[in-house]
């Protein structure tokens, strides 16, 4: 019998501590409410409304995320060196901004008194306090993640395949559509689900930019925060609901992801 080496012990110790740190709060949340309370939430018209707004806004955000994000990701994966680094920093910016700053920045851009405020008012559009604001907030926060992660998928496509397609007379569009896209298809589906899951959990940017009105801009995470103001128990139940939805989506994303990327 060989004694485990100190380094192995260190690795195991650190991993276990980290595991406990991550799992304990999640476990506490799951234990905070009974399954019957959880099901009871699904009969609450207010919760159903919030669930609907959450689903609707995330689904409405998907087409623009794909339409803008997919070409951007493909383009990014062809960039090299300084240019790519610069573009990646730009994409990382929305990821590290505190949600409150994101919300304020969106107001300063699209609000009534924002940079585009006059232009939008001339068109008769009012973005804040509308579902459009929820969708834009999701777009702003989620698209950069989507582009970063999809670009990595495109990086994995064998360049020789695309070169061969071009040599055989395919146009760049055809080589993208017929060669690169099919290779990354499964990974992209996984990223789409990740984007959905991220949109579901958004809070700070939405409450600032879109406001909090049940049935119009109140998503599940906003409803959770409002419920917490009077009834912490209901907030725990809603938190568990959100956790279970995220867990489901993340597992789906994992299952779809191709093996090479999954490991």
């Amino acid at each position: 019998m060989t004694r485990p080496r100190p380094f192995t012990v260190l690795l195991a110790g650190c991993s276990l501590t980290l595991g406990a740190l991550l799992l304990l709060p999640i476990l506490a949340l799951l234990l905070s409410c009974r399954p019957s309370e959880l099901l009871g939430q699904l009969n609450d018209p207010g919760v159903l409304k919030a669930l609907w707004i959450t689903l609707l806004s995330s689904l409405l955000a998907l087409p623009p995320i794909l339409l803008l994000g997919l070409p951007a990701a493909y383009g990014l994966s062809r960039c090299r060196g300084r240019l790519r680094q610069g573009l990646e920093i730009l994409l990382e910016l929305p990821m590290v901004l505190p949600p409150v700053v994101t919300g304020l920045a969106l107001l300063l851009a699209f609000g009534r008194r924002g940079l585009l405020g006059g232009l939008l008012a001339d068109l008769g559009l009012r973005i804040p306090f509308n579902l459009a604001a929820v969708v834009i907030a999701i777009l702003f926060v989620v698209t950069p993640y989507f582009v970063r992660r999809s670009a990595i998928l495109f990086d994995g496509v064998d360049k020789k395949l695309e070169e061969a397609a071009l040599l055989l007379g395919a146009s760049p569009w055809q080589s993208f559509r017929r060669v690169a896209l099919p290779v990354v298809k499964r990974g992209l589906f996984a990223e789409v689900i990740m984007a959905l899951a991220q949109g579901f959990g958004l809070f700070g940017a939405i409450i600032l930019f879109a406001g909090n009105l049940p049935g119009r801009t109140q998503t599940l995470s906003l409803a959770l925060y409002s419920a917490f103001q009077s009834d912490p128990k209901q907030a725990f139940a809603l938190g568990t609901l959100l956790l279970l939805i995220s867990l489901l989506l993340l597992s789906a994303a994992r299952l779809l992801r191709p093996w090479e990327v999954r490991s």
Binding site: L107, L213, P214
Partner: protein, 258 residues
């Protein structure tokens, strides 16, 4: 062993951050008291060397939940008596006493001075009105006010319904209502009188609300069970004439009862 030592160093540094021998009072207070209590804490620290007043501001419900979950508080000042009662039932606080009273006001962007001259004008179609969430004190007081107005011949249920249709957001904190007004995203909002004393809010107009419908708004204060006993001196300070003047300058009225 090296690892344990490495972990001990930051822990040691953390404890060093606390000045030795200093008394720390941890005050949890409703966010509508932010400016007034900051001033008072500053004055108190200046006259009581070795005492640090740590202030934690949030919605009263948030603070109550934090206290229930064992957050280290010595004193709790709530914008809402029912939240205080909740803590009292759980035996987490000593007997509360009234500290302050406040009032609801209708605040309007100053560029609407021509259009909005009475509170009834906020029923105008298309106006962007931001209120408190009914679950938080400012929102529940606002709902009391609105139901009073609905029964009033000067206003009426139909007008109140139109006012409610103008609501574009229900905020969980009174400061969030103010933010939306100051950013110019909302036209009008119902907040506390004490919220309109900062420099930033100078360009908001205050429209009078009928006094007979204004709900009683009182701020109870209570010591947390097991909290620092030196809190009592700070509590006494909050009832002094000096404190009364500071509170008054922020639109808050000190209550007499000790």
């Amino acid at each position: 062993m090296v690892l344990i030592r490495a972990l001990l160093v930051p822990l040691l540094l953390l404890t060093l951050l606390r000045p030795a021998g200093a008394t720390e009072l941890s005050i949890f207070a409703a966010s509508s008291l932010t400016e007034a209590l900051r001033d008072l804490a500053h004055n108190y620290e200046a006259s009581h060397a070795g005492t640090r007043v740590l202030l934690n501001f949030a919605g009263s419900q948030t603070l109550a939940t934090q206290i229930e979950q064992g957050a280290p508080a010595d004193l709790f000042i709530s914008a809402n008596p029912s939240v205080m009662e909740r803590l009292q039932r759980r035996d987490l606080v000593d007997a509360p006493r009234p500290l302050l009273s406040n009032q609801l006001v209708l605040a309007v962007r100053s560029e609407l001075a021509q259009e909005i001259t009475t509170y009834q004008d906020i029923a105008r179609p298309g106006l962007l009105l931001v209120l408190g969430n009914p679950e938080v004190p400012v929102g529940s007081y606002t709902r009391q006010l609105l139901s009073g107005l609905a029964a009033d011949a000067d206003c009426g249920a139909a007008l109140v319904k139109q006012i409610e249709e103008n609501v574009v957001s229900e905020e969980n904190q009174v400061k969030a209502i103010l933010t939306k007004l100051l950013l110019g995203e909302a036209d009008a909002g119902i907040v506390y009188r004490s919220d309109l004393t900062t420099d930033a809010s100078r360009d908001l107009l205050i429209i009078p609300l009928p006094p007979q419908h204004l709900p009683q708004i009182s701020y109870p204060m209570a010591r947390i069970r097991g909290g620092n006993l030196k809190t009592e001196a700070f509590v006494s300070y909050l009832y002094t004439e000096q404190a009364r003047l500071v509170f008054a300058s922020y639109g808050l009225q000190q209550e007499g009862g000790r």
